[in-house]
């Protein structure tokens, strides 16, 4: 499945109206905001159709997945939007992550747990915003230039250390930039789940965390709770390092601008479990015959040339690493 899909579900008492655009959407937030009521209405419509008294409007079928037989149910659901309520412990299992990784469904999951096995975006974490009997989804983490936890937008972030999630090309790029700067330490956390552990060892340093926003959702809550008391820590979460390069305009590929404007129209969920994988594939394909030929494992030295790296850094508005 690809694209953005609007879902309107209503009965005589309550109406929900929202859009989803990636394969995994998380819903959490306060109690009594109507999360379970939403899933109940989708279930009743799924089981009984119009006879349920629930009206559901969407260009895709909406289903509910639950209980011990989830795996068998899932095998019969295709090209659908699948809702899962909290209380379904299987969501936390590696089996579930594996089972949905190559399906052509979108998933809307209600849980307050991080679920690191699922690569969901920081942009796709929502609470339900109610106004009377009308509910819609409200994004939980709002970004400004993809910077999180910056209170003063007028001053550029000048970190003393940079921690990258990446240990490959992205890390090699930022390590080189920081080495040239001479005043910024740069090291890799070797994975998103290690970032919190690395930061809490010295939480008072001026730190910039650079991670792939496309799959960083599971880490957001605890990091935002931590940096609430440590404003010296800033998160920079582009979709991925490859997205930064594509965004820089360095790549001569006429399709890139449209792809970056509306990625959801190009990224097939069955093929790409999260968007950063698509951006990597796109960058590799677009540069294969050029001097900027990209490989994720080992950064092509061409990206370290000043005129090239400056273009990439220019995408990172509000951050000064030079």
């Amino acid at each position: 499945m690809k694209g953005m899909h609007r879902i309107i579900v209503q009965n005589k008492r309550i109406r929900y109206d929202f859009e989803i655009r990636r394969n995994i959407t998380m819903i959490r937030g306060d109690s009594a905001t109507g999360k379970t009521a939403l899933i109940d209405m989708v279930r009743e419509h799924y089981e009984n159709g119009e006879a349920s008294g629930v009206e559901l409007t969407c260009d895709k079928e909406c289903a509910v997945l639950e209980g011990r037989t989830w795996s068998g149910q899932l095998s019969m659901i295709q090209d659908s939007i699948v809702f899962i309520d909290e209380g379904n412990e299987f969501v936390m299992s590696d089996d579930f992550a594996s089972a949905i990784s190559d399906t052509d469904n979108y998933y809307v999951i209600v849980t307050r747990e991080g679920v690191p096995s699922l690569p969901y975006s920081v942009d796709e974490i929502y609470g339900i915003r109610n106004s009377g009997k009308y509910g819609t989804l409200k994004r939980t983490y709002n970004e400004f230039y993809r910077l999180y936890q910056v209170s003063d937008y007028d001053q550029a972030v000048k970190p003393e250390r940079v921690i990258t999630e990446d240990s490959n090309a992205g890390f090699q790029f930022f390590e080189n930039v920081c080495r040239e700067n001479g005043r910024i330490a740069c090291f890799s956390a070797h994975g998103k789940s290690n970032i919190f552990t690395v930061i809490v060892k010295s939480p008072d340093e001026k730190t910039l965390v650079i991670a792939d926003g496309a799959a960083f959702g599971s880490e957001m809550e605890k990091l935002m709770r931590l940096i609430k008391n440590h404003p010296n820590i800033v998160l920079y979460l582009p979709e991925s390092f490859e997205w930064l390069i594509l965004k820089s305009g360095l790549i001569e590929d006429g399709s890139v601008a449209e792809i970056l404007e509306h990625p959801e129209n190009h990224i097939e969920s069955e093929k790409y479990f999260s968007w950063e994988r698509y951006f990597t594939t796109k960058l590799v394909q677009s540069t294969q015959d050029s001097y900027l030929k990209y490989a994720k494992r080992q950064l092509n030295p061409a990206y370290l040339q000043e005129k090239v790296s400056d273009r990439i850094l220019a995408v990172m508005k509000g951050i000064d690493l030079r």
Binding site: R13, I14, R28, G29, D30, S31, A32, T33, G34, T36, A37, E86, G87, N88, E89, M92, T111, R112, E113, G114, N130, G132, K133, F196, T197, V200, P203, E221, K222, R225, L226, K228, N229
Partner: protein, 145 residues
């Protein structure tokens, strides 16, 4: 004192809504503290042990209360059990602290609930450390969720 075990805890009751449906008693709903919790979190009024007036859903039975309130009611009435408090939103945190002030309470959390700006006494069972603020709690508990 509030005791919290962070992360996966197999002996905790995970699906609190299912457990509530099968064990709740009428007196649990009409209890004055439960009435307060239901009014505060769900904005609903207990009419009697079987009927609650919800501003959105109309007259509902106790099993249709929010997952958060049902878990709070379980915590109040079944102290010998440990419940998955990640069924509760941050708007239940104050009530969990209040229940723990009435009597020793042990819960399981699989996310970082926000216990607010004030001070409290929470024992993190994973490390057996007592913390008094979110500033102290987050760096420890965050390692387990």
């Amino acid at each position: 004192m509030l005791n919290i075990y962070y992360g996966n805890m197999p002996e905790a009751v995970f699906n609190t809504s299912v457990y509530f449906k099968n064990v709740y008693e009428d007196e649990w709903i009409t209890d004055p503290v439960a009435r307060e919790m239901i009014l505060d979190v769900d904005k609903s009024i207990v009419l009697d042990s079987a009927v609650i007036d919800s501003p959105v859903m109309g007259k509902i039975p106790p099993v249709s209360l929010s997952g958060g309130v049902k878990t709070l009611i379980l915590m109040k009435n079944e102290r010998s059990k440990v419940f998955n408090a990640s069924a509760c939103g941050d708007n239940c945190a104050g009530w969990i602290l209040r229940l723990a002030r009435m009597d020793e309470l042990t819960i399981n959390l699989r996310h970082l609930m926000d216990f607010g700006e004030g001070t409290f006494d929470i024992c993190i069972l994973n490390t057996n450390q007592i913390v008094h603020s979110m500033r102290e709690l987050v760096p420890i508990a965050g390692l387990y969720v």
